[in-house]
Symmetry: C2
């Protein structure tokens, strides 16, 4: 598909206060949520319109920070009550985390309403929310041309029928390896991917954190590495930043050819790598396009094998 040059990315998802117990300290009421991380990452590459809900307690200064990145926040509803809050604790090497508490608050009754001015977006990123709500968004956007979606084990186990209906309408599913295994019931990722693609998604990205990510599409299988960082502070939101970076790049190119999607995987991985360099979204809020260009250059060197890989037989 080819889009028009003035396309935007519509991002739907959660906006949250995160309470983070990290090896480096305890951080409270950090700006978080899938829509936040995805929107900030995408904003370096394309216009972004964010749809979500916050409570009366959500500081206007947080929305200002997001708007300062050029994100259109007019689709963020302010509801009576408190903002969604997640409290997580990470292991000492950051390799695993446990949820201490989840308070859905205003997010419990979230029903995304897409403003008419936003219904022209050709590209939609459906962050990890209830599958029926993801479908409701698509119902409101009949002109949408390319749909990416995330989900999680909670919906895979709890709402398989609604999720199956959604998957039939998804162009690109972006999930992690655990989710791919849970969704397919298959441990091997290559076979899991084949199974999942039969359920609807034309393409599938499986994220493996620091170990990189795999793309499965009609052209074949593609791999993009994680960036080898000297310091990782907080993995929160990295998967959302990855998805936002991927979709932002597709919007910026205005097309979704196999090679453009492959290039987008590096922008996704680069934005995920920035995300983990700070607690919360501070690093995503601080970087500019020149930082992104420099990291993309480092990625290019990371995978440049400098020649023909042929072998005479």
């Amino acid at each position: 598909m080819t889009g028009s040059n003035n396309d935007s990315l519509l991002v739907v998802g959660s906006i949250a206060f995160d309470d983070l117990d990290m090896p480096s300290g305890e951080f409270r009421s950090v700006l978080g949520g899938s829509a936040t991380y995805a929107s900030l990452a995408a904003s370096l590459l394309s216009p972004v319109r964010t749809v979500g809900v916050v409570g009366a307690d959500f500081p206007e200064s947080f929305l200002e920070q997001v708007r300062a990145r050029g994100v259109d926040t007019s689709g963020i509803e302010r509801a009576e009550g408190q903002t969604f809050r997640w409290h997580g604790r990470y292991s000492s090497n950051l390799a695993s985390r446990t949820t201490i508490d989840t308070q859905l608050n205003v997010f419990a009754n979230f029903a995304p309403r897409i403003l008419s001015v936003h219904r022209t977006c050709s590209f939609v990123l459906l962050g990890n929310i209830r599958p029926q709500l993801q479908t409701d968004v698509l119902e409101q956007m009949p002109r949408c041309k390319y749909v990416a979606a995330d989900t999680m084990n909670f919906w895979i186990a709890g709402e398989p029928v609604a999720l199956a209906l959604l998957l039939r309408r998804v162009d690109l599913l972006i999930i992690n390896d655990e989710e791919a295994r849970a969704l397919s019931g298959i441990d091997n990722l290559v076979r899991a991917a084949a199974d999942i693609r039969k359920r609807g998604p034309k393409a599938l990205v499986i994220k493996r954190g620091e170990f990189g990510s795999l793309l499965f599409d009609d052209t074949g299988t593609f791999f993009a590495p994680g960036y080898p960082l000297e310091e990782v502070l907080d993995p929160t939101g990295a998967g959302d930043a990855f998805a936002g970076g991927l979709m932002g790049y597709l919007v910026s190119r205005g097309e979704v050819s196999p090679s453009v999607v492959r290039q987008a995987m590096f922008f996704a991985s680069a934005l995920g790598s920035f995300c983990v360099e700070s607690v919360g979204p501070a690093r995503l809020l601080a970087i500019g396009r020149s930082d992104l260009a420099a990291r993309i250059g480092a990625f290019a060197r990371l995978v440049d094998h400098g020649g023909n890989l042929g072998l005479s037989v």
Copy 2:
């Protein structure tokens, strides 16, 4: 460095009977050992001369199988007593293994003697044996131009001084992520790599199994993915096949430029990926150069992002 066209790879390491408790069954007296796997992998790419020891119980037919791949086994000594035997048990998803029993047998008194006809090899791969023995090999080969070595946590913890002396003579150290962390005492692999390279090795490869491998050298950092396989039967020897494939490719090119080493990483990963497709070395024994060429082609597609990764700023 540049070598001559008739160079060979000298491989020193263990030759073993492996008793393997796999999810797919129990396998006894399987041909194994680091020198075996490395030699078989390298043999698809270059002439190989193997140095090791076997006991009186080692079947001549096993040596015949290795020779049939063009490997020169004249450096394999036959000693009184029994062959080295390792008994390992893998977890159901093959992600971890435990050693049930190790019987060093004739390997306990192994002192590698390099035949004069083998001392002309420009490239040496020192498999994982006692560090002092690895150094002894180098003492016998003053004309050797490029040395790669492996080691393991047992020597890192138990023989740090002998290992430190060896590392000063190593061009390329090929170890896994656990070993890199143990050797450096640093959890982060980028910083661990910088620390290890200060100890001598001009270049370092850190293997991460199915997650691929990282190369650190004066040119920078390079990443080669693991090949996404539909079925993995037995990881035994994959790291040795990786090292053998890497060195075999360097010998075949006769030079060790940064781009040749980067290309060699794909041949290494390809040979590691074949290795795990059978229990024991059966798959390495069965494949030919056309199989390797096909897999290298698949690797090239796996990482081909089809264009410029630039970003206008």
